[in-house]
């Protein structure tokens, strides 16, 4: 396959940046999207040019590190995948592919296609955890009865890998699906009840302070989420938040 790539290049966080065209040739349809970018970077290094900076780590859809807004969609034109799981067979020979970083005020660009998603970490620090007493009388988690339905829903919420595709896809750059998943995974389990009120209040407060937008329920996040996190998690967080606001 021969392709034309239109890639966002930005030297650093303060650079204005802009789109640059790169032709790539002899791309195998069986390559992953990131392997295709590796080929481009090898060509750029060979020519003495600066390679394109992009995030990646596990390359098997678990770490949530690879981002990229490809042809107008987070993680490209496939469903239930991260960019490392996107294959070149999804494109046609001769295509022009537009590659941009995730865009959100709370995800500032560091360089080229790499964005700083530490705002998610700060939201997690604000309450995305449970405190377990290890004084010697700790109850084994498996000894606490949990309703099967709740356990399944908590597990599904916990599969969120924090990649930020929800924010990137949302027209409002809202982080509600991410925060909704992180609140839900604890709200559904007995271990999460002790800190439930503070958790949702603090995580939403931090989310707002980071500058994410308001959810307008377009559902784009749910469609583009590589892990299929459902909008039900946002509704659950809304309920948790309103109940917590009345209490505290």
């Amino acid at each position: 396959m021969n392709l034309t790539l239109k890639i966002w290049r930005q030297k650093n966080a303060n650079d204005k940046g802009g789109m640059v065209d790169y032709p790539v040739t002899d791309i195998s349809p069986d390559m992953s999207f990131l392997e295709m970018l590796d080929v481009l970077n090898e060509q750029l290094v060979y020519k003495g040019e600066e390679p394109v900076a992009f995030d990646h780590d596990c390359r098997e859809g678990i770490c949530g590190m690879c981002s990229l807004y490809i042809n107008g969609e987070a993680h490209g034109p496939d469903r239930g995948i991260t960019t490392c799981q996107l294959h070149m067979r999804m494109f046609k020979d001769g295509d022009t592919i537009v590659i941009e970083p995730f865009r959100a005020t709370a995800f500032p660009v560091i360089k080229d296609l790499v964005v700083d998603r530490s705002s998610f970490d700060r939201i997690q620090h604000a309450g995305g955890f449970i405190s377990v007493n290890t004084s010697g009388n700790t109850i084994d988690a498996n000894a606490i009865p949990v309703n099967k339905h709740d356990a399944d829903e908590a597990f599904e919420a916990a599969t969120c890998i924090g990649c930020g595709a929800c924010v990137a896809s949302c027209k409002n750059s809202s982080a509600m699906l991410f925060v909704g998943a992180k609140v839900s995974q604890f709200a559904l389990l007995p271990q999460g009840q002790v800190e439930a009120t503070d958790r949702v209040l603090n995580m939403v407060k931090q989310m707002d302070e980071e500058g994410f937008g308001n959810c307008t329920n377009t559902g784009a996040c749910e469609v583009e989420c590589p892990k299929g996190i459902s909008l039900e998690n946002i509704a659950r967080m809304n309920r948790e938040y309103l109940a917590a606001s009345l209490k505290g």
Binding site: K6, W8, M19, Y69, N71, G72, E73, P77, V98, E100, R103, A104, T105, A106, S169, K171, N172, S173, S174, M176, V204, K205, M207, D208, G211, F212, G213, N214, C215, T216, N217, T218, G219, A220, V223, E224, L231, E232, I234, A235, R236, M237, N238, R239, Y241, L242, S245, L246
Partner: protein, 228 residues
């Protein structure tokens, strides 16, 4: 509880509550308007009751005006924050791949409805307030000095729909209302935290409401226009 309206979720909750209130009001407004198609007398009697009963005039009317203003002001506040949340736009964005046009353009359908409400207030509400509270005529009669002249409400309604430009604007406004409701109805329930086994059925009902109710208003306008 303090500061709940400063949070994104609190604001969305308030937005949803005002939307649910306005959707109930729309249903009530339609129920009275449709009477004009079936019975001049029933429409006149109901309009006179709504226009003169103290609880409607001094309790419900101010609440309604507050609800309308709150919904629009909060809509603008949320839109401004949302625009700030992405200062640099995508070069290429395929919004249609993951969301409906209606959900992405609530601000534009809302602005079209706001423009209609402003016109509706100038066209209907302001003259009504003028007759009742400035001229002091609470009789509702065509000729306040003649008790046999009959109520003026039906005559005024029919007269309004003589003008094809007004009818055209009315039809366009209700198409935008339909687009707004097609997303807004079920979205309001999601915002108040109601997403459960009933959501699928609710979305079906939302479509019936969002298409049926504006279509009903359009029918009334066209009925009177062509029935002159």
């Amino acid at each position: 509880m303090s500061g709940i309206l400063n949070s994104t979720i609190g604001r969305k909750f308030a937005m949803a509550l005002s939307a649910l209130f306005l959707m109930i009001f729309l249903l009530q407004h339609f129920a009275i308007n449709i009477l004009s198609v079936f019975s001049e007398e029933a429409f006149n009697e109901t309009s006179h009751f709504m226009g003169t009963f103290w609880a409607v005039q001094y309790l419900l009317q101010p609440v309604l005006i507050f609800g309308v203003i709150f919904h629009f002001v909060m809509g603008f506040v949320l839109e401004i924050k949302n625009n700030r949340a992405r200062k640099i736009s995508y070069v290429k964005n395929n919004g249609a791949a993951n969301s409906t046009w209606m959900s992405r353009n609530m601000i534009w359908s809302g602005l079209a409805i706001l423009a209609f409400i402003v016109l509706h207030f100038i066209d209907f509400w302001a003259p009504e307030i003028n007759i009742k509270y400035f001229k002091g005529d609470m009789s509702g009669l065509l000729d306040p000095d003649n008790v046999d002249s009959g109520f003026r409400y039906y005559e005024e309604l029919v007269h309004k729909f003589e003008n094809p430009i007004r009818v055209g604007a009315y039809v366009i406004a209700f198409v935008f209302l339909s687009l707004h409701l097609l997303h807004g109805f079920s979205s309001a329930f999601q915002s108040i935290g109601a997403n459960n086994k009933y959501t699928k059925g609710l979305k079906g009902f939302a479509k019936v409401y969002a298409i049926g109710l504006p279509a009903g208003f359009i029918f009334i306008a066209l009925f009177h226009h062509f029935n002159q």
